[in-house]
Amino acid sequence: MITEIIGTYLVALCLLIGSGFVLVGVVGLLKFNDPMTRLHAPTKVGTIGIGALLLASIIHTFVRGEPSAHELLIMAFLFVTAPISAHFIAKVHIHSRSCVAPPPPAHDDTWATLNVPDADREIKEFKPE
């Protein structure tokens, strides 16, 4: 009985933490004024926000008396794929020159991500008619 009460409080706490981080991340996505700065804000949504919501779901299955930890799969998948998609979006930003370019490297003539044929270096910005 007492463990159920503690578990329910933990579920509520995890839900509140998760929704707080989701709000912070999305407001950051909306308010920051540089593409690379905007890239860092929604990572809080992906890791702590959704992580806390999934943790609340796991704890709630234990409170209900039918314990399962399926949600750990989603958590692991999200934690593995979030850096990869962030890396791809950062690459799009660098190639479309929409951020401050990094200084030239000391030894090579250019950075590895830009070391491609000239036709592939620049991304022409898509403009809807």
Partner: protein, 95 residues
């Protein structure tokens, strides 16, 4: 028990409201977004918020069946983000 469940119901409502507001704000960034990278990022954030909404819905209805739904959304969201970024980078998805 009643105080705890009361608090959990309030937390569920707060989580629903925060996630719905997050979807709306991400959609504003999707419409405004000056560069294509910002639009991809806003779509990625919307997918992650959708996972959160499905998880909180499963918590609210006290059922387990929404697990597969959120796992599928997570996989499709990752694939679509990578495919969009790849399309912008190379002009093609599978070369």
């Amino acid at each position: 028990m009643t105080a705890a469940t009361e608090l959990m119901n309030i937390a569920l409502v707060v989580a629903f409201a925060a996630l719905a507001l997050g979807q709306i704000l991400a959609m504003v960034r999707l419409v405004l977004g000056p560069t294509s990278g910002d639009r991809i990022l806003a779509l990625d954030t919307m997918v992650i918020n959708a996972i959160g909404l499905v998880v909180v819905l499963g918590l609210h209805q006290k059922v387990q069946i929404y697990f597969e739904v959120s796992l599928l959304i997570a996989m499709l969201g990752f694939m679509s983000t990578v495919a969009l970024a790849r399309f912008l980078l190379r002009g093609d998805i599978i070369e």
